[in-house]
Amino acid sequence: VIASAIIDQVLIRLDQPVDGTGFYTRPEALQALNTAQRLACFFSLCLEATFPVSIDSSAAVYTHDGIAILRIAQASARVERVSLGSLAARDAKWYTAQENAVEAYAPLSASKFAIYPRPFFGSSLNVTTARYPALMGEGSTPEIPDEHHQALADGAASILAGIKEGGQEQTKAKQWLAAYVKAVADIADAVRNRSRRYRYDVEPPPLAVDKIIQELMPDGPKRNA
């Protein structure tokens, strides 16, 4: 399903004209759709990318632009994921140590990781990360699995109603939010099973669907923020 068709569905859910001349515009709906897909990918880690990272003896710290590193290999050999503290325990000179093969990596931040040891000569690592989806235009197709494209419409509609409206409209949006969070949790469950088969280093966190829905759009008296 292309994004423009999903945007139509978002606006219909919100009782708005699909030409975007009502309370919500089509660019707003597209922005919410992009957010819904980005959040789905962030919480489920369902999109992956494997790319080469050139390494050499000049540095121990490298960057990536994914959500989290799932796996690193050098040629066909798996590189072990360890904590920064255990690198120092393994070798007090880990930061400058050099060998033929990289034994371990330690995530440092949202976008950086350290390797141990550095290679003597220029080499390459195959880094697999969970990645963010590309930003969609109206003619784009969402990247998450097809069967969950309807859930993206639910997610975008609930974000729009949850952010821009309150009271009764938000109550109406609760069903869309529930469908969206349930879909994301289902994707995360499937990814978690797959991650365990592939022995990935990171798996998506479990999503407590009912608790999340109740926290975001509680029943009964309004909470004070």
Binding site: D65, I163, G166, R223
Partner: protein
Amino acid sequence: MDLSATLERVAVSLHASSSANLAYHTAAEVWAWLDQWSRRLSIATRLQVAIRSINAIPPTASYALPAANLSTPAVFDATGYALERITVRNLDAGGPWQATAEAHPVHRFSLDANQGLNVLTLDPPPMLAQTLTVLQTEYPAAIGSGQPILDAPAIAEDYLYFRTVAEARGRIGEAHMPEVASFAGGLADLIEGAAVKYWGAP
């Protein structure tokens, strides 16, 4: 990412046509919230890590940490040796703190050796001048209309958007919408929780 776009997105969500036409808030307030929460995200998660240096000169033991330091996961001497981090509490068990330079190399450091905040103290003080490598988590540069760029992953834009809407709708006044503040803040909490799991905490 350019947070000028986030500012405009927030404005539309607050029922304004643009940030210049906000009815109950000002663009300066929104910038302040974006700045505040970008710092908060860097406190809660390892958003940014950088490699900095300190020039150690004998016989000085204590040095100011590099700018924007939030935490110091590792310090290396000029040979690449990872200095052991020690606290005042385990100093007692680890032997007396060396006040003067000795023949053996610097082998440990402390960030709480009664020298004040943001000060790194070496033990023993260096015998030779050397450049220390400091691996540190950092605060992002201050965000504002004159500096709208934040070096952060794509999800940070959503996080800051939700946090800012929550701030605007959580404030008591004519624009107060507690259920919207609760919804937006709750989404931001979820993002922050997953980010801590993926990226680690400082």
